[in-house]
């Protein structure tokens, strides 16, 4: 075995303390910091909503719930394709890995496109970040909170898609194997996290 391959395998060995290899633990710790980040945003949203209920509307009045429900479904399907890619390389199936990674990239891009279309449609109807018609004490709360929450999540998905493209290119170059595919697993963790946050966001912002 080449030295590089040996090093790669060694770097995937579970560490005695935590029981998982370093890169996976590192990604988990990063995701936990992201939990605090989104807690700050979602927590603020909940507090502002309770404090000024008249600055918001009931579900479906302004936001397009059916379209976003379909978009939620698309993101969930992309999580499935991501986990199928991981399952494929666990069995050494290179073709399966490439196919499912490509599907994940495409679904992620579709999600972002639909979000973009939704933003454009909302703006056309006058719902913009500083929309004065949904205001309390002078603050345009509804528009501000909606665009901040979904915008930050969208930024995370965008970065996820870009990283996913990198992983997919690596997969097409045959850089992952049954013995060494930590990069796919770690990318998958990030992608599932982004899906998880959207599940919470969709419920709180669109349905409540």
């Amino acid at each position: 075995m080449s030295q590089a391959a040996t090093l790669a395998l060694e770097s995937r060995q579970p560490m005695p303390g935590i029981g998982v290899y370093n890169q996976k633990f590192g990604m988990w710790v990063f995701l936990l910091s992201e939990v605090m980040f989104f807690t700050g945003l979602i927590g603020s949203y909940i507090i502002l909503r309770f404090a000024h209920p008249d600055a918001f509307t009931e579900p479906g009045r302004v936001l397009n719930v059916p379209l976003t429900a379909a978009n939620t479904f698309i993101l969930i399907v992309s999580s499935v394709t991501m986990v199928k890619a991981f399952a494929a390389i666990e069995l050494g199936d290179q073709r399966g890995l490439r196919r499912w990674l490509l599907a994940t990239v495409l679904l992620g891009a579709v999600f972002l496109s639909i979000q973009g279309v939704e933003y454009v449609k909302l703006a056309e109807h006058g719902f913009v970040p500083m929309v004065a018609s949904y205001a309390a004490e002078g603050a345009p709360l509804y528009g501000m909170t909606f665009y901040t929450l979904t915008g930050f999540h969208g930024a995370h998905v965008t970065i996820g898609v870009l990283c996913m493209i990198f992983v997919t290119v690596k997969a097409f170059r045959g850089r992952y194997s049954q013995a060494d595919h930590g990069g796919v697993e770690v990318m998958g963790l990030y992608w599932h996290f982004v899906d998880l946050v959207w599940i919470i966001l969709f419920t709180i912002v669109y349905l409540i």
Binding site: R12, I18, G19, Y21, L32, I47, F73, V80, H192, I199
Partner: protein, 90 residues
């Protein structure tokens, strides 16, 4: 790669559950229950979906217990963050 000695998780079953829970959520939001009940049911469904993704797709169910504790650690901190700010307004 550490050997996770378990058979492949039921990814498609979990996917079906996630799809079904999403449909139920949208239904509950528009069916016209009283406000508090709607919020509670929707939050329970959202947490259920999040747990399914975390446990099966992120493989937490098959990871060492030590990792579970690490992953659960921000939850009390997140609760303090939100409750602390809420308490200020009382």
């Amino acid at each position: 790669m550490e050997q996770a000695e378990h058979k492949q998780p039921p990814y498609m079953v979990v996917f079906g559950a996630l799809g079904l829970l999403t449909l139920i959520e949208v239904g509950v939001a528009f069916v016209g229950l009283p406000r508090i009940q709607t919020i509670v049911v929707l939050l329970v469904l959202a947490v259920w979906k999040a747990l399914l993704v975390a446990l099966y797709y992120m493989h937490l169910r098959f990871e060492p217990r030590r990792l579970w504790f690490v992953v659960a650690s921000p939850l009390p901190l997140a609760a303090i963050l939100v409750l602390g700010v809420l308490a200020e307004g009382w």
